[in-house]
Symmetry: C2
Subunit: 215 residues, 2 copies
């Protein structure tokens, strides 16, 4: 269903934007996408700084002009307004488990890949943390995060030996965060999924064919 | 009101446990607290590993034996079951803004202090990240996080020039995370609040006298 007044500022090359685009596609929510040209550093323009002073995408702009940043906050708003086909869980226990596993996947997987890339990529020298403030890269973080990603894959495989989806028997935002993290690791760090983790590979194959993943 | 079947595994010296204890006190939820002796590394015992394989506190154990880790997931469960005196927001916009500001306070404040301490404290050598896996400390992170904390205080002051509480006009989990981060920075890093940030100092004084803070 189209929503005439919500707008999402986002970028096709931003993994955080992709987390929101997949969520929108899964729930068939149709809102206006406004591209922010991060290759041209448009997120630092005065115009965008008034929309999101953290200079990051995505940002959801509400009908009244309020900006909502941070992917889980954007998801929370959209799930409240569009409760059909829930992706944040249904009952209290389910909501808690989705929140727990999504957060685990973000910290151990998504943030791990991002931190490796930001502390390594030559184009991000002096910009090792997203946001308005400048920080030098710390090369030791690249190695730490590659080791961490190895643990993430193994721990994820262990979890997926007992459940079909990360938070239980339903696809949820926990799966979105995990698959976007893995795709970004493959793309940006050229780290393929290990061969010896069959439960992880089965889950990845199942999730990857969902139409929403190409959003 | 006492709840006969929920249990919280926690530690008095754990800032993450304190985030949950303050939440419980604000809402007058009375559940059993089970101390985990982290000074004696009891979070790595086989018994506790079956409760939380990440070897961290706090963990909320539900009536059916399900373990819920991760502070925001524990909060989500408790707010669903005890909706009175909401701390995660009321309407969709409010819920989104609380989620956004809480997350910002956690990343820029709470996680910043924790990362500085874990990469500095002699007792945490070889344990630079919480969890079951061993990582060496990276000394460069101590300086980066001290700089980051300076930005956190300044950005927080700027926000509090326009609102009474971090997420708007009501006390919320965003305030809990911010105040626990500041108290831990004072205690563990001996970093006092800067004198030249009056809005931050006023908010800190107002929040610090709440009875829940001593929980």
């Amino acid at each position: 269903m189209p929503h005439p007044l919500l707008k999402l500022y986002e970028s096709q090359s931003s993994p955080n934007s992709r987390r929101v685009r997949i969520f929108l596609a899964e729930k068939a929510i149709d809102i206006e996408l406004i591209p922010v040209d991060i290759a041209a550093k448009a997120q630092f323009s005065p115009e965008y700084t008034t929309i999101n002073p953290l200079n990051v995408v995505p940002t959801l702009m509400l009908e009244d002009g309020t900006s909502v940043g941070e992917v889980p906050a954007i998801w929370r708003y959209l799930e409240e307004v569009y409760p059909d086909k829930p992706l944040l869980g249904v009952d209290p226990k389910d909501k808690a488990l989705v929140a727990m596993w999504e957060r685990w996947a973000e910290r151990e997987g998504f943030a791990t890949v991002m931190e490796a890339v930001r502390n390594w990529a030559p184009g991000l020298a002096g910009r090792a943390l997203a946001g308005p403030h400048a920080y030098e890269q710390i090369p030791a973080l690249v190695k730490r995060n590659e080791a961490r990603l190895g643990h993430f894959y193994r721990d994820l495989n262990k979890r997926l030996e007992t459940v079909a989806y990360l938070a239980g028997d339903q696809f949820s935002v926990a799966d979105i965060t995990a698959v976007v993290a893995i795709d970004f690791a493959v793309e940006a760090l050229e780290l393929d999924l290990p061969e010896d983790l069959p439960a992880l590979r089965t889950w990845y194959a199942t999730v990857s064919v969902r139409r929403s993943l190409s959003a």
